[in-house]
Symmetry: C2
Subunit: 212 residues, 2 copies
């Protein structure tokens, strides 16, 4: 299936943000309900945007009492999560890879588990790091099949990013989060999200310069 | 000055990407010229988009011979870089902070230097890590002033992200790159770019699920 044109990655990103904000808000403020403009303020978007996004998951609040937080979180989860969970592989267990593992080892998102790390450096493999078992690269296809991995995180140097993507896709991965500072090419059925830290910093620098 | 509505962060991000792709392409292929569709293919955007972006930096190629790579890189640099350079502070020298330092310690971008790291953990301060001197948090204002820091990278836990942003802004920072998984509030003259790894991964997971 081609994902293009159906639903926007930005909408999904906002829903993911709302879910986390709502969960934190309910826990910290002991709140059960929230108005669209309250959620909008937390998320830094407009209230109209919040209402549109939330209608898209088949839920609606009332003008008088707003949204019921727990029901809204459940609707978002039903919309964006796989009920059976999804398994993730991390390729590259350097500083960035470890930072990623520490984000996801807390078990905050049980639906999304980093079940295997891969690296070419022998001293990083054959052990459990931050709750994640690490393997040598040549076991990628075998482990990916066994663990039913469909998502890959690329945290390797630019020079081996394309090769890493090819191997992940060859092993059945259909979603990639790429931190290497180079665009990667994948088949049409594979979804890629790039996080290019240098580009982000250069963009901040441009606007910082014009703020003075 | 308010940056909104003038030029889009996406345009600047693409220009930053073009510059790096062009530099690599010239070095690897020993090429001196490139056509808009060639650059478009490298960047994963349309040729029309490339031509629009490049017109915005006041440069134009010819239909017959394309762009002269070195001149184009110079035009992009003149458009997005500060001639005198810009100084960056990193707050949070954990795994993510170290990954960021290793990206920027190579000296690839001489115009953009991470000149100081800050952390609350005493064992991380008072030394040089990956070429960057690390200080205790309570020296932030003093060091930021002395080093003329205008850009801050936030690589701290969510619980202290807003406090960190406030301190950076108080010390004269006008551009923030925020890796903490929480939106931060800043004055209107401060530009913020958020990189939320959990949201990115959840977005990839959503589209991966629909690809099967």
């Amino acid at each position: 299936m081609d994902w293009k044109g159906r639903v926007s990655p930005k909408t999904i990103s906002r829903l993911s943000l709302y879910r986390r904000l709502l969960t934190d808000y309910a826990a910290n403020e002991h709140a059960e309900r929230i108005y669209s403009h309250g959620l909008a303020r937390l998320a830094g978007v407009s209230a109209a945007q919040v209402r549109r996004d939330i209608m898209s998951v088949g839920y609606s609040g009332t003008p008088n009492t707003g949204y019921e937080i727990r029901a809204l979180v459940d609707h978002i989860s039903a919309h964006i999560d796989a009920p059976e969970g999804q398994q993730v592989a991390l390729v590259g267990v350097g500083n960035l890879g470890r930072a990623i593992l520490s984000y996801f080892s807390g078990g905050r998102r049980a639906q999304l588990k980093v079940v295997a790390g891969f690296d070419t450096a022998p001293e990083k493999t054959g052990r459990v790091l931050l709750g994640c078992r690490c393997y040598p690269m040549d076991q990628l296809a075998e482990v990916a099949r066994r663990e039913r991995i469909t998502i890959g995180i690329i945290a390797v140097p630019a020079s081996v990013a394309q090769e890493t993507a090819d191997r992940l896709v060859g092993a059945g991965v259909v979603g990639l989060l790429n931190f290497a500072p180079v665009p990667i090419k994948v088949p049409l059925n594979v979804f890629v999200e790039n996080v290019d830290i240098t580009i982000k910093l250069e963009t901040v620098a441009f606007f910082a310069l014009r703020s003075r």
